[in-house]
């Protein structure tokens, strides 16, 4: 086993841990905040499904992996992941929900700046556009879903207890689904840069369980996310689930559904093909932030109720965090790469390869 590789991998694992600490709030924050699901239950379900998503669905996210794979030297990849991880961790400590995707994009641009490579502003513009569009779309989706669900409940004359059971089951199922999607989509952000040099071997138990070397790497990443959820996500869950806006369980379910819908819109190839084939405007297929989707949806519900219940102080800090996060990641990455190259004599980029 190459211990040098493991050392470099540690930054990816740290990023995984930070992602778990931060992004579990997007999946179960509203469910835990409304006391519909206990924190321990949420942590266990999220951990299991994130690991499953990472191992069995992670290989498909080649687009994100390719984008990040352009960081072409392992020490450089180490620093990109570490910068993003430090940024997310620092923001999580304040209890604010930040976007891991933004931190990674910021760190990659920091790497590009340091290497003197030009950033593809067409790609960046597309990603930046979704940062604006995603919360807005989530807010609109949440409002529409809330109207539909409320109307359905009003006219179905369902018993309050039955309604409670359905909402609880919905929260758990949607949470599990989102956890699977989070694992599948974000594992590439965390472990993508380490794929090419993974020193693992394919692993099989009696032809029942078969894991490729990449799946083993993703399993490690998934476990790091799970540890982050169990050990450190409580703080951010409270912010998302309680402090921003007091929500009813139905609103909590609406928020998770809106999040899942928005993530689906921005990641479904078949939907895009369908829209294009019918000459309709299609959504760009770019990695979007689940954090922004959730915050957008919560604010949408809050505004629907007149905006009185929204804690504007916290909301403002979160939105400010979205501007600050990529900038901090960029600066941290740039400065750290300088030290890594000049103090520790590490190769942080291969000049002959193409970049983002």
């Amino acid at each position: 086993m190459d211990f040098g590789y493991l050392f470099f991998l540690s930054s990816g694992l740290f990023l995984g841990w930070s992602l778990g600490a931060n992004d579990a709030a997007n999946i179960f924050g509203t469910a835990v905040g409304t006391k519909m699901v206990r924190f321990n239950t949420a942590a266990v379900i999220a951990s299991i499904f994130i690991i499953l998503g990472a191992v069995f669905g992670g290989a498909g996210t080649t687009e994100t992996l390719d984008t990040l794979g352009s960081v072409n030297a392992l020490p450089g990849a180490f620093m990109v992941a570490l910068s993003a991880a430090v940024t997310v961790f620092w923001m999580s400590r304040t209890g604010l929900s930040v976007s891991t995707s933004q931190a990674i994009v910021g760190a990659i641009i920091g790497w590009n700046c340091y290497c003197g490579k030009s950033t593809d502003f067409a790609v960046f513009g597309k990603i930046f556009g979704t940062w604006m569009l995603c919360p807005l779309l989530a807010a609109v989706a949440a409002v529409l879903l809330y109207f539909v669900l409320r109307r359905f409940i009003r006219y179905s004359h369902m018993h309050l207890l039955r309604q409670d059971s359905y909402v609880r089951t919905g929260l758990i199922l949607m949470g599990a689904l989102c956890a699977y999607a989070l694992g599948a989509n974000n594992i590439a952000n965390i472990m993508g840069v380490f794929v090419d040099s993974a020193p693992f071997h394919d692993f099989a138990i009696d032809n029942v369980v078969y894991l490729t070397r990449i799946q083993i790497l993703f399993l490690l990443g998934g476990m790091a996310i799970a540890v982050g959820i169990v050990t450190y996500s409580h703080n951010v869950i409270n912010t998302v689930g309680n402090n921003m806006l007091k929500m009813t369980p139905l609103a909590a379910l609406t928020v998770v559904m809106a999040q899942a819908l928005v993530l689906f819109l921005f990641s479904s190839q078949s939907l895009r093909d369908y829209l294009i084939s019918h000459s309709l405007p299609a959504f760009p297929l770019v990695p979007v932030s689940s954090t922004q989707a959730v915050i957008g949806a919560i604010l949408g519900i809050g505004l629907l109720k007149g905006g009185r219940g929204i804690n504007w102080g916290i909301s403002g800090r979160i939105v400010a965090g979205w501007v600050i996060t990529p900038l901090i990641a960029l600066i941290v990455c740039f400065v750290s790469l300088f030290f890594l190259e000049n103090v520790f004599n590490q190769v942080v980029y291969q000049p002959e390869l193409t970049m983002l």
Binding site: T34, M158, H159, L160, L161, R162, T248
Partner: protein
């Protein structure tokens, strides 16, 4: 997974039935109370009255058991977390209405107040208003669980009936104190009339709470 889900819904169904049964108990208590007062006016403390009074006692006892069971299940199964406190309060207040029916019926049995015949009609009217008030409370409370828009309709009826019962009580009390009965008898009747009217007051308080819960649920 499937069995867990199945069992979750079966627990819910059981609790739904228990909450429904508690509402049924209010209606039962009101109907038996109405019948019992009618019997009392005709036969005083007869065997029939005794039986009816006991029947109310059994209803009250069953309602207590239901209340405890509902409270336990709500907490042990972590159900309706955002409304659990409110529902607990509601269930307790519904139980108080049944307790009041039992107390008044028992007090009639023990104290056997002498009600002059000229007040019979207005007394029956008062009891009718109070019982209808309690029945509408049960319907409003049941609607809170199934159909929020109907709560307001039933609540309106409760308010109106409570107001009417206040007027009937006031006119009865006036008549009692204007009469040439002994002061002790006047005071005894006054106390009985107050207690009967209290049932409608309890129902009104309950409905006040219900309407706040409706606003809360609707947000």
């Amino acid at each position: 997974m499937f069995s867990t889900k199945f069992s979750l819904f079966s627990h819910t169904k059981e609790l739904e039935q228990k909450i429904d049964m508690l509402h049924d108990k209010i209606i039962e208590a009101a109907m038996v109370f109405k019948k019992a007062t009618d019997v009392y006016l005709k036969e005083k403390r007869s065997q029939t009255y005794r039986k009816l009074s006991k029947e109310i006692k059994i209803i009250e006892h069953d309602a207590d058991t239901l209340r405890r069971d509902i409270e336990n299940r709500l907490y042990s199964q972590n159900l309706i977390p955002d409304f659990r406190g409110n529902i607990l309060e509601l269930v307790e207040n519904l139980d108080k209405v049944i307790n009041e029916f039992d107390e008044v019926a028992h007090k009639f049995y023990i104290e056997q107040p002498e009600i002059p015949e000229k007040y019979y009609e207005r007394f029956r009217e008062l009891v009718g208003q109070v019982c209808e008030c309690a029945e509408n409370l049960a319907m409003a409370s049941r609607a809170f669980f199934y159909d929020l828009s109907a709560v307001r309709d039933y609540s309106k009826k409760v308010y109106w009936l409570e107001h009417e019962s206040d007027k009937t009580t006031a006119s009865l009390k006036e008549g009692v104190f204007d009469s040439d009965m002994e002061l002790a008898q006047k005071l005894q009747l006054n106390s009985f009339l107050t207690e009967v009217a209290d049932i409608a007051d309890l129902a009104e308080n309950c409905v006040d709470q219900l309407l706040i819960y409706v606003i809360k649920r609707d947000i």
